[in-house]
Symmetry: C2
Subunit: 344 residues, 2 copies
């Protein structure tokens, strides 16, 4: 991350300038965008206030009203274990190529947390003519969408808003339905003791996926006591959770996981015991990573191409809409699909 | 890919304009960049010639001399099987985050072949203020580097020039040394019949890696007759090559592969025969993909972080150099490292 660009608090806003010049926000905006509408003495007063406050107008916010840069910013997520990041890389691939078909380009940024990401927005809006942002990995208490909405920057998220009402455009995948389908598939194969290895409670995505397992089991009155584990996402924690489940007196015959990282950990534990995934203990992951495909592990696949396409649809609708951004925001929940392989 | 942007041939050049206006190229350049140096009637004549010829000056080429956009273009490679693409995604990750530390941003483009990539350069140079390009996957008869050099666009390649003399900056990994190390490692473990599964002859990268296997075997006077296969890169072809080798009367006890895709194919064939990779037949891949790490397959790792860092060093040196691009171009060959796991 670059260290440039001040925090939001330190930065003088349009309001600061308006207050200092004793004019309305609209007048300041007119001076910046349509000076022909403003009397020369007012222009002089506002310009002086801009200089005194050090206000730096967002180039993008200014130029958006008049023309398109055809530049979309998207975050390149840092590789963690090379497994779960794969779906975000895939999404970025799809977004880049489909954006080009619509004559848009993707500008990358990186960030390690929400605060860094917001600092990146601030810097990007100052330094480049951006049309919009595409965010991924929405989560509870997501400060990023609030910041972008407050700054009037058009954006769409891959991921729904968790725990808040929000009117911005988003595209998401129905994780609960995906895990429900995976569990139903195991039930059809005759499994009665089906475990779920998920993330610690409180994560929107994780809780949603777990609910799919819970409802499929509840429909069949399957006993799920002792059959769920909540661990951080990694191969090692997945393997440990798998070991714990398989060591229990009433071990599961099938394990559904919230991610391929955890499922690969479980898979490793199964094979390390000399057992065969599928024949002895079934295992199903989530995200259909290349590794799952290579080793023959079933997994729930997200339709990244469709997500990218739908995100761009929403963005262009928003950009073509009324200048005030009043075009109706749309929300779209896409169905994932279970890819069945030898492990189930 | 976007269809905009004409081909190189169709596009009028600075020379076309100079000829039409009856002035030198330098004069045309001055009209574009330093009109204060040119007499008004000459400016008028050149402007008329620009209009008549339809000449569209590259914004970037023009602005590069005066200021930096801090924007670098890099290609996002299309996912093939999700295995081999991983190293290019990794490189892009490293490039993006390290570029940001130097206050540069990465703009993405996609292309399916050299011609499309060149069309993308043309369009990007027209539409955006770009400082430079970072190319990957150099190969024989690479039209891309020639085009960029001819158009005066600064660039650096991840990959050396193959089969041509070239003075541009590049960073590459010593593939021959990596495969040599892998083969030496197998020899130390007692293997005497070591096979190599590579790509069809004629690929610079593939031939280079194969040469490392050949020299390590030659040093020990190992018989390599019948022990090499040349196939296109995929899991299926790798598996078929592995089957062929293992079915031979004098089957190898170890198989080195030019890529992880091919090695994972071989690995699949070994396990399908009820054999254990490492204990029964050793297998080593190239690129150290996440999948290799998960299944415990040895592989040669490329230092993507160092490659990204060195590429940016070369780029900034070139950008800080003399305006004519006369700063000495540098070439850098980095050593890969063998990651030993259970499969060898």
């Amino acid at each position: 991350m670059s260290g440039r660009g001040g925090g939001e608090a330190a930065r003088p806003s349009l309001e600061t300038v308006a207050e200092r010049a004793g004019v309305s926000r609209q007048t300041v905006s007119n001076v910046l965008n349509s000076p022909q509408l403003v009397r020369p003495e007012t222009i002089a007063r506002v310009r002086a206030a801009i200089e005194e406050t050090g206000y730096r107008p967002h180039r993008a916010a200014r130029t958006l009203r008049t023309r398109r840069s055809h530049l979309i910013a998207a975050r390149m997520h840092a590789p963690v274990d090379g497994i779960n990041g794969a779906v975000l890389d895939s999404f970025l691939h799809a977004l880049t190529s489909r954006a080009e078909q619509r004559d848009y380009r993707v500008l990358l940024y990186t960030a390690e947390d929400d605060a860094q990401e917001i600092a990146a927005y601030d810097e990007l809006l100052s330094d480049f003519d951006l049309d919009a942002f595409v965010l991924a990995n929405t989560h509870r208490n997501d400060a990023r969408t609030t910041w972008l909405a407050e700054h009037g920057a058009p954006f769409v998220t891959f991921g729904r808003p968790w725990g808040v009402e929000a009117s911005h455009g988003w595209v998401d995948v129905d994780g609960a339905a995906g895990v429900y389908d995976a569990t139903r598939h195991l039930i059809r194969r005759g499994h009665r003791r089906i475990a779920f290895v998920g993330w610690p409670e409180g994560s929107g995505v994780g809780d949603d996926r777990r609910s799919g397992w819970r409802s499929a089991c509840a429909e069949e009155n399957l006993d799920v006591s002792g059959l769920t584990r909540s661990v951080e996402d990694s191969l090692a924690t997945g393997r440990a959770a798998g070991a714990e489940l398989l060591n229990a007196s009433c071990a599961p015959t099938a394990i559904v996981c919230v991610s391929d990282s955890l499922a690969l950990g479980v898979w490793t534990e199964i094979t390390a015991r000399g057992l065969t995934p599928g024949a002895d203990v079934a295992v199903i992951g989530f995200d259909d990573t290349p590794t799952a495909a290579v080793i023959g592990m079933s997994s729930v696949a997200q339709p990244v191409g469709d997500i990218a396409e739908a995100s761009l649809d929403l963005l262009t609708q928003a950009l073509d809409g009324a200048p005030g951004g009043s075009a109706a925001a749309k929300q779209l929940l896409l169905p994932p699909s279970l890819v069945v392989r030898a492990s189930s």
